[in-house]
Symmetry: C2
Subunit: 65 residues, 2 copies
């Protein structure tokens, strides 16, 4: 399965937001809905900083950083 883990980029590292994300959809300006492979959901506010799919990583940064 090709789900990815979503992380906040923080100074000095990465903080896990959610594991095993399947679907990511915009919910407005700088807001995203993450849906996991088991149907769990989380909405976050931030910008996509990068994705490295082969590494299963989606990186977000907080808006305003």
């Amino acid at each position: 399965m090709c789900e990815a883990n979503a992380y906040w980029i923080r100074e000095g590292g990465e903080d896990l937001i959610m594991e095993a994300v399947d679907t990511i959809e915009p919910e407005g300006s700088d807001e995203w809905r993450l849906v996991g492979i088991f149907g769990d959901q989380k909405s976050i506010r931030g910008r996509i900083k990068g994705m490295r799919l082969v590494d299963h990583k989606i990186l977000f940064e907080a808006s305003g950083d």
Copy 2:
């Protein structure tokens, strides 16, 4: 490998932008750099409309749609 294919969402369907995308990074407002698993690159202007990672799909829509 968990690369994905990038598509434009068009009326009535999807148009392939690039296959086997590994990395996606913002290059400014509504501009994205796609890098494939073999190092091929493409820059596009648009918004992320959705990702379905288990289906290996990243969907973009043109800005202004």
